[in-house]
């Protein structure tokens, strides 16, 4: 009875999301979909989304990798507080994060950065910064789980064999973390591609300037171009599906190499 109820709930979810997808697909004819896909504006949005998400992911991983290792391996005062605060960007609305960024650039240090270092407000740099702000904490959380799952005795035995602490991290921990890291990169990237709230608040929604795919959807609805919005949604769903499928393939590949349990 319980199994049947659980399977029923799963089927219901499948039907629900299937209906959503079907309604999006039904909103644009194949011809219109292809026309929208080939338009300069959508191609620009795809390119901008991919480039910004990739830069934001690279920046997030560069910070998250050592931060996650520190949270997983080191003991320091206030660790629990830091660990809790790191979840804030995950649970707080992205629009709030975007507003916080916008307010920061109104302060003296923010204006200094904006005037002397790089412009972020209403620029594509702002898109990267907004995406970074939203996904960095997610990257830390995913990587920390990866490091937590790694047997620290491997690092210990490497140290006894002659590795310095950094060598043990580079030659052993990172190699054991590789499946989890790959998954973290893919999920972080997919989340960055779909980011809207913080991006639109900091970088604005200007066609052919700060128009990522989610912003293109918003602009299309603003001009009542439902077919274009539906086509862009399908593109976004396609990119997210490709990322998730890649993640699944990576997990299978690592499992076949005997590292699957750590993927």
């Amino acid at each position: 009875m319980f199994k049947a109820a659980a399977a029923g709930a799963l089927a219901l979810l499948g039907i629900y999301f299937g209906c959503l997808l079907a309604s999006i697909a039904g909103a644009a004819s194949p011809g219109r979909f292809l026309a929208v896909l080939g338009s300069g504006e959508v191609l620009f949005a795809i390119r901008l989304s991919v480039v910004c998400a990739t830069l934001a992911t690279l920046a997030a991983m560069a910070v998250a990798l050592p931060a996650a290792w520190a949270l997983s391996r080191l003991e320091f005062p206030g660790k629990n507080l830091v660990d809790t605060l790191l979840d804030l960007p995950i649970v707080v609305s992205p629009i709030a994060l975007g507003a916080a960024l916008l307010l920061f650039f109104g302060t003296a240090p923010g204006r200094f950065v904006e005037d002397r270092i790089a412009g972020f407000v209403f620029t594509w740099g702002g898109l990267v910064l907004a995406q970074f702000t939203v996904v960095a904490a997610l990257a830390v959380r995913l990587l920390k789980s990866t490091f937590d799952s790694i047997d620290t005795r491997c690092e210990g035995i490497a140290r006894v064999m002659g590795c310095t602490e950094f060598q043990a991290f580079r030659k052993v921990t990172l190699r054991l973390a590789w499946p989890g890291m790959t998954g973290a990169v893919l999920l972080t990237w997919a989340r960055a591609v779909g980011e809207f709230g913080a991006s639109v608040t900091l970088a604005g929604a200007t066609a052919m300037k700060t128009e990522t795919l989610p912003i293109a959807i918003s602009l299309s609805f603003a001009t009542a171009d439902v077919e274009k919005a539906a086509a862009v949604v399908l593109v976004l769903v396609g990119i997210a599906s490709a990322a998730l499928l890649s993640l699944r393939l990576v997990i299978v590949a690592f499992r076949n190499r005997g590292l699957g349990d750590r993927a």
């Binding site: 005795r153 491997c154 035995i157 490497a158 140290r159 006894v160 064999m161 002659g162 054991l176 590292l259």
Partner: protein, 234 residues
């Protein structure tokens, strides 16, 4: 070769309480005791994997208490072997040699010699996930011995191995010890294993040495047979 003076540390529920012990060059000692008595903590303290709250560790006459593990020049076979799953058998064994900057010819020679010594020439190309318990054990031993360490720490190395194979490995270790003359500290639950390999046995109970003596007469937990720790070699 190894001298511990008043070693004390705490690791969660496990602890060491003022352990004082001296192991001569080339000596093979067994450390026995009930579960949770601190045997693994003792080995980790000698290896430098655990910072000791008090006491001193001397290896080859030098105070290594504040040295990181990589400076201590120790071979270590941890519980459950802990082979690197991302490397095949050959690369697992070659790992410490590569760290020392050994050349290709040197690595090949050391690999061949160690593999022949432990009878694992046929396993070198295998993934570690495909090894049986006994094979993995030999590979772990090979990885520890390939750099010819003067000190070898073994933590329950034969715990999960079939009794018949276990006895075979005892003979192999004994022969290796005779041939290479390393100093060994071997943690085991098994009095028979201690008697087969060690010249002396240390009984650790609740983080303190309760008895030191001949392995044959060593009780599982206290009792007659060994000399009291204070009267034993220290």
């Amino acid at each position: 070769m190894i001298e511990l003076r008043g070693l004390g540390t705490e690791a969660g529920a496990f602890r060491l309480r003022g352990v004082t012990l001296s192991v001569g060059a080339g000596e093979y000692i067994a450390v026995t005791g009930p579960t949770g008595s601190g045997k693994t903590v003792l080995l980790e303290s000698i290896a430098g994997l655990r910072r000791n709250a008090k006491g001193t560790v001397f290896i080859r006459g030098e105070d290594v208490s504040r040295w990181p593990p990589e400076w201590r020049g120790i071979g270590y076979v941890p519980q459950d072997r802990v082979l690197f799953p991302f490397l095949d058998v050959r690369e697992n064994i070659a790992f410490p040699l590569r760290l020392r900057g050994a050349g290709r010819a040197e690595i090949q020679a050391a690999l061949s010699e160690t593999a022949a010594m432990l009878g694992i020439e046929g396993l070198l190309g295998r993934r570690v996930g495909k090894l049986s318990g006994g094979e993995a054990q030999r590979v772990a031993l090979a990885r520890a011995l390939v750099v010819k360490p003067a000190v070898l720490l073994l933590d329950e190395p034969f715990g999960s191995i079939h009794p018949a194979l276990r006895r075979k490995l005892w003979h192999e270790i004994e022969a290796l010890h005779r041939r290479t003359g390393f100093t060994a500290v071997h943690v085991t639950h098994d009095p028979e294993e201690a008697a087969a390999l060690a010249s002396r046995s240390v009984l650790l109970v609740d983080g303190a040495i309760e008895r030191i003596g001949a392995p044959e007469g060593m009780p599982d937990r206290g009792g007659a047979g060994g000399a009291p720790a204070s009267g034993g070699p220290s």
